[in-house]
Symmetry: D2
Subunit: 383 residues, 4 copies
């Protein structure tokens, strides 16, 4: 990918009629030519773009419908083999204003991955932090550091950088899920390493246990295995099961109904997935959260530095991001760029499940901003 | 700045002859058109660029000669006024392979700033972390949060995000110095806020004290003022004076000569500037260090994730970065992209000062990599 | 409690025949009298006691039988009312070599607490960190910050300093449990504050819910409630249920049988209770852990700085601490002083449950040592 | 030292007439005898002492006059040799209400140490954290990890646990200084290890350099040696020189006079010594600070959890601690027990130096309280 021109002509005179720019003269033209020749760019011609009063995202709010994604992924299942080189049958969201690059936002990658019955995705590892989230189906095991982890609807599977991993589909049906990574961020800061692993897993790794070993060690609330304990930057818990997430959300809403604190806003439950060895975000660069909004409730418009990708897990509703607004339903993915206000309204439809609540999975680049002292948030007052 | 195309045509068939790509067929062409229409990009066509085996920097090693910079800055002094809107007479290094953008590296901004006698650069503040380093001259005061700080040869002045700051030149001569900021990084992750301050400083702030108040509070070794103490992400010490840096480097080399630990390699002293409230890097996103290499010594080639900009402070020598090699002298600036090996040889010349050592100021984006668990370094074995 | 004499006569001449002491002379006698008069003590007469080559604990290993404790607690139930002033019907272990003080070890308090049907223990709060552990029975609710928490066999209820708390027994039977606190430590360093609360709880607080609100917020593995999240030095999770502890121990032993890491030694599962907001010990000064040792297994003798109290939860076995050795069964409590080697052998008896494993709850002052850079451990080599 | 009785008779019936105690009856007497026999103590007879409403220190405010200390130390110099076994000619303050034990406070040891011309104190190391502070004289070098450090008036020399150290007096005069350690604290929690080192130092270690190697590496403000950098719990800077402390205090008072923040109260400058690798207290268990109070100023009465020892460095004044009040002059030492209010008034006398300020060195156990979430402070309102 070369998103840079090879010519170096950074200075333009089109700024000549701007009052904050120096008057154009033959000497100024010569000076600017000197800059170009010396590979220099004056701040005064660029400051408005480089140092805006607040973030003006290069990305655009956008919605991808799950039906479209799933249909194209299914056709790829027929036409595109999975194997070494291509590595994964993953198809990424390309934000419409990011120049065709496979970036959901300037820092985040989001893709649908698809595996046919009996297929294997070969082992590799990389510095990019990753996770999988399952909106429907089951039958695939992801094998992380030789530990097979079953994937089922509602499960969240984080996988910190440099863990070996592969996938195998042991079911009779294809399975699709969502991959999230920090590919664009690591591309920009140039941190990436990648190693190819074994082409075939061992028989033991093709096992299909109901729980991974990581869950047996780390999946007990408030308890850690002393033999394995120690601070790790990426979570050792490889799967956060839907049964737990659902229970936590249900509890928050019941506490609210009983008059106790628990929700982040009226009718709005929110849990964050955390690393049990640090009590911080599951991955060094990615935050993951799950929202439940009861039918009829609406969240207050809120801006944050940094960007998010959401996937509707259940229910339906209406989402407004800046100047964009969409009706959403199960599986749909949408993007919230940096500092764009987002609000979400839960609207039960006839086809919804009993609860009628709108359930959404969210991931974002918030850890970057938190760790670098750049995080800001703003609640819109007139909402 | 628009470094993205507006068209969205991410998928190319030029990959058709690559063995890791699916065979081209009418169905595949149709699938790829479906991807484009749906704003999707398949991983298998992009993985080599997005997820390389190790960082392959978009930036290029490059040297800017101080003489050229200073000459162009001087001509700008005559032609370009300093004032509100343009804000600063700063001229940035534009890496030759970064598309003409004013980026020294993908994350770092480096510029020469120039102020004529009696000039004032107006007050503003921004989330971008910044510093100034002075390779020659004196007479300018930078006023940070109303505290005037004199700038003199060898001084390093960090200034964390969202501190109000302005400059005034109280001398009879123009003065030039180097500005370093994390502008490209914050541009990419979209974290920027910027506020305009007062156009004129108060009379008190135009004072020209020999030391800033920050130094009187924080500039005593191993001692902190209890009334002000508490963790701050950016250093409250606004100037690190040359006399201290020089003494620390001299001490390291003397310890080495006496047979004790101190240097990082034979004849190679290295100090890091730190925040006295955290004992960590002076700025949340920027590391700053100072090297002294005795005449005849050469550093071992070393790779690091992340990029650096160096300025020669004194002496002369030969620098090799990847496939590039340059003779360097006082004031010259050069760039080391991510994972490119760098080695530096000190070569005294007739015009050098008595010591004959090569002194270099360096700044880098290492805190990003450290805090996000992405830092790696490698010493070349056959060097 | 006055464990100090009022006379001040620190210097003795009994050291006269020790070769490391100065020769006795009239001048030395006069000097030592001068020390006494001036309230001074020379190091050279005391160094062996004050600065030993390794910890020589003032405490002694000791075993208290549960049957004895429970019998005396029951008789106290008849004779000693619970109410304001005495505050709790708690009876503390007094280590036989600590001068009759109610200290299980030099830093830890351990007591049996007993509440009759219908009784209430009045509300108070204090800086002392506390927990309850239930070896048998149920029917008592502890109310922490107005949140009623049911207590049942196997449950661990930590309660950080300065949380308001009270207890009420809603059952038809008396109930006993173990209290652990850092009373001796806070007594020595003089950190204590204590406030009396309300004499009567509200009707709502007399509720007997199956789960506390704290568990509904914090008791889901790997998940935190965003509305409440933030670092707290004491855990907000007020009860760690037996069902979870048991499952975690079972998983570790099964992983061991399958050939995977999990246990701390052969047949020895060990979990630590942690604070979900810090991933560190549940209380600032107290570590709590739970051991399961399979029948026939024996732990390697191990020394640690700091002291522990253990309670047998289930099964039976033989415990050796330094020169002491006891057969232990359900409910028995024993003390391991600093740097005394401890080893535990699991010995199934006819009366044991099916599993035959020895289950032990342990608490210690390890966080003190960890935070102050004083923690050491040593595995005996010839065990 | 055995400050405990060997008999175990913890329960007394003297509480019979207290209304919060159960009525005395033959059954209660029998119950209490049962407690004694079983090594148990009921909380309800002890709670007032164990869990007071606020700290009631076992220690007492007390003043030791420097003249007395120095005189007795000098006589010890004649009568008591320094060597292996006794290890140091150190004479400790014994708080009048701590039973004759060599404890200045319940956690802190403070002693005068004295070395005759040509004497050597042999090498050892221990877990106890220590420092030296010099109120007058020079000529002694302390050798820490083979690095000779000269000691002169006003210098503060911290030495974290387990550093090898020895002393030698190279001057023609005896020299005295103050040692501070956490001996009582480590005695209570039983953390101590002690190793004997070499009886004789090497010739190189008998060198008398003007600065230690540690200062050459770590004594430059805001700068760290990259080759040695990394977090260490005890400071690697082995001496904090008077010239720096004096300058920092002078700067704070000048800033106050100019109308800027800097002092902790009117006319009251205060600096804290910190570890340059952590920006926290110099030692894991000990805080050290230096006060300067201008003539005529008085500090507001202030309580803190934890205890302090002060030494007057220069000037004179009046100190009030709880119910005690003393006139103080150079060298005098006094103790502030936990939660006792302290206020200090500076009163210039004819014999004082020009400045007339009262200078005081202070050390305390504050890090214990901070790290264990037990620190509290209170400013008296009606002062």
């Amino acid at each position: 990918m070369t998103d840079q021109d090879s010519t170096v002509s950074p200075v333009s005179l089109t700024a000549e009629d701007r009052p904050d720019q120096p008057p154009v003269s033959p000497e100024l033209v010569e000076l600017y030519r000197g800059f170009e020749k010396a590979l220099l760019v004056p701040l005064w011609t660029r400051i408005g773009d480089l140092m805006p009063e607040h973030p003006r995202s290069k990305a655009q709010p956008h919605l991808w419908e799950w039906k479209t994604l799933l249909d194209l992924a299914g056709r790829s299942g027929d036409l595109v083999p999975v194997g070494r080189g291509g590595e994964r049958r993953a198809i990424a969201l390309a934000n419409p204003s990011l120049g065709g690059r496979p970036y959901a936002t300037p820092t985040l990658w989001a893709a649908i991955q698809y595996l046919m019955p009996g297929e294997n995705a070969p082992e590799h590892r990389h510095t990019q932090n990753a996770f999988r989230f399952v909106v429907e189906g089951e039958g695939v095991w992801t094998v992380v550091e030789r530990d097979p982890v079953p994937m089922r609807r509602g499960d969240f599977l984080p996988q910190a950088g440099m863990n070996w991993h592969a996938h195998h589909n042991s079911a009779d049906e294809p399975m699709a899920w969502i991959d999230g990574l920090d590919i664009p961020f690591q591309y920009d800061v140039e941190a990436q390493f990648f190693d190819f692993g074994r082409d075939e897993l061992s028989e033991e790794e093709h096992a299909t246990p109901d729980r991974s070993r990581s869950e047996r060690l780390w999946g007990h609330p408030g308890l850690v295995p002393v033999s394995q304990f120690g601070r790790r930057e990426g979570t050792p818990l490889l799967c956060y099961r839907w049964v737990d997430t659902d229970a936590a959300l249900t509890d928050q809403l019941e506490l609210e109904r009983e008059g106790h604190p628990g929700t982040v806003g009226p009718g709005h439950a929110l849990v964050r997935y955390i690393n049990p060895t640090t009590a911080q975000d599951v991955l060094p660069t990615i935050r993951a959260q799950f929202h439940r909004i009861v039918s009829g409730a609406e969240t207050t418009p809120r801006r944050e530095t940094g960007s998010s990708v959401y996937q509707v897990f259940d229910g339906s509703g209406r989402v407004t991001v800046g100047d964009f607004s969409w009706s959403v339903r199960r599986g749909d993915l949408f993007v919230v760029p940096s500092w764009q206000p987002v609000s979400i309204r839960s609207e039960a439809s006839l086809s919804d499940s009993d609860s009628g609540a709108l359930d959404l999975f969210q991931f974002s680049d918030a850890p970057l901003f938190n760790k670098l002292n750049l995080f800001r948030t703003h609640i819109e007052e007139n909402a």
